[in-house]
């Protein structure tokens, strides 16, 4: 059975991992390749790097970090952040990224999504949508509004309509972040996740708000998510991938065991991560 995916997300600035809470309060936390390899060994199903560099040097450092990661990590790697052109995408794929995640540029220049899908294939095009509840907005806008530029610019677009449009343009997956929940550890926005999962036939990755294994269970069973993005819950040591996967599997949800390697012994006890790479 197709398993639900657990995807650690590393915020990368100037080639180093930082942590973000509600898109603020960034702190340094290490080498992306090092952390990526650790998460693969722990049972990550995929990885996401989100580049939050503001400078050209920072972007070059990201490409080097992607290259270092791709040489030792053999699960899919998605890289997002600041992608504006087909050339940006090509450089990332050539550095070793398997997919790219396009956010602001997808909204502002939708033809980029179409061109990327045509040139590189839909399988490597993820459209990232940052959405927030839009109380008091006209009904025509819908319940959730799309925000761009790291959650600073309201677009006046309905998140559900945009998800459908992105899929039609050629997106292969939707990475859906609830701005309201991001960094809160109060759980994913289940209504938003369910609404988008019902609106598009392509996989939806729920993001923003994970604070416990129960939140992941809800994202899968209630939200209909195909995958969950995990950041602070892992980076801050609240839970390990093995613990989260065991708890989700115990609820009957198909999960790739963190000890899926036939030569790797299962963990001796719950909560112990699988061995070295």
């Amino acid at each position: 059975m197709l398993t639900r995916r657990f995807i650690p997300c590393l915020d990368v600035r100037d080639g180093r991992v930082v942590k973000g809470v509600r898109f603020r309060d960034l702190r340094d936390a290490g080498d992306p390749a090092e952390l990526a390899a650790r998460y693969e060994a722990d049972g990550a199903d995929e990885l996401v790097f989100l580049d939050v560099s503001a400078t050209l040097e920072g972007r070059r450092a990201l490409l080097a970090a992607v290259e270092r990661t791709a040489a030792r990590v053999f699960i899919p790697l998605t890289v997002g952040g600041g992608i504006r052109s087909p050339d940006d995408i090509r450089r990332l794929l050539e550095s070793g990224a398997d997919k790219v995640s396009i956010n602001t540029a997808a909204v502002e220049t939708p033809e980029l999504v179409a061109e990327a899908a045509a040139r590189f294939g839909s399988q490597c095009v993820v459209v990232a949508i940052d959405a927030a509840l839009a109380p008091g907005m006209p009904c025509a806008l819908g319940r959730w509004q799309v925000w761009t530029r790291a959650g600073t610019r309201a677009t006046g677009r309905d998140a559900l309509a945009w998800a459908g449009e992105a899929q039609a343009l050629g997106a292969g997956e939707i990475l859906l972040t609830s701005i309201d929940r991001d960094g809160t550890r109060s759980g994913y926005d289940l209504e938003l996740t369910r609404a988008v999962a019902d609106a598009v036939p392509i996989p939806v990755i729920a993001s923003g708000g994970a604070g416990s294994a129960e939140h992941l269970v809800d994202a899968f069973l209630v939200g209909g998510a195909d995958a969950v993005l995990l950041a602070g819950i892992l980076h801050d040591g609240i839970a390990t991938l093995a613990e989260l996967k065991a708890a989700v599997a115990a609820r009957g949800i198909p999960v790739r065991p963190p000890w899926a390697d036939p030569d790797g012994a299962p963990p001796a006890q719950a909560g112990v991560n699988g061995g070295e790479p």
Partner: protein, 213 residues
């Protein structure tokens, strides 16, 4: 040397890096004559069937595949590379028609919309691969990473080396005289995937082009 055939479809860096990680000398080649000296040939591929076949023909890499098979050099198809080995695909074909493939294996490639009704398309993520017999490149099976919207339906069920459950038991791997192919991405399937590439490497070193059934 193992030749990874570059015919202008998709990014082959990750396939090359995965072979390097298991200590194998695999190189991306973009001319058929560079494949002529190879002791093993890898046919990768992502994207749509019809443009890929067109690119294979335009670059002469279709000949490189057939030539390698004629020499008894082991062949490994990956993802779309598996599908291209079959007689024809429904992808990009008019109703009732079919886009011809390499025809190394007899059978058709059909859409998951038809093979796995009610399931999301594409089939993206890690799914449990079960071998149909011992001694193939897939080994004992396990969880592998898939991304595909079409799957092969071999005319001879005997070539199926492994299946994956998605609506039905889909063809996850084939293995026949001198060739093997996998629908999943071994280069993206962690250590289990690397083991498939290492097995192919051993097959190449043994020169066992007639192995496999």
């Amino acid at each position: 040397m193992i030749a990874i055939l570059d015919y202008g479809v998709g990014n082959l860096a990750s396939v090359a890096k995965a072979f390097a990680a298991v200590g194998l000398d695999a190189r991306v080649v973009d001319r058929p004559r560079d494949a002529a000296r190879a002791r093993g040939v890898v046919l990768p591929g992502v994207g749509a069937f019809a443009p890929a076949m067109k690119r294979l023909r335009a670059t002469g890499m279709d000949g490189a595949v057939l030539e390698a098979m004629g020499r008894g050099v082991p062949l490994l198809g990956i993802c779309l590379g598996l599908q291209l080995l079959f007689s024809a695909s429904d992808e990009g074909a008019a109703e009732g028609g079919g886009v011809p493939g390499l025809g190394v294996l007899s059978g058709r490639v059909a859409s998951l919309g038809r093979l796995a009704p009610g399931h999301k398309v594409p089939h993206v993520g890690w799914n449990l691969v079960t071998p149909t017999r011992p001694g193939t490149l897939v080994g004992d099976g396990g969880y592998f990473y898939f991304v595909h919207s079409y799957a092969a339906v071999p005319a001879d069920a005997g070539v199926v080396a492994a299946t994956v459950p998605y609506g039905a038991d889909l063809c996850a791997a084939v293995q026949a005289d001198g060739m093997a192919a996998v629908q999943f991405h071994p280069e993206k399937s962690g250590r289990v995937g690397l083991r498939v590439l290492a097995s192919f490497g051993r097959w190449v070193s043994a020169g066992a082009g007639r192995d496999g059934r």
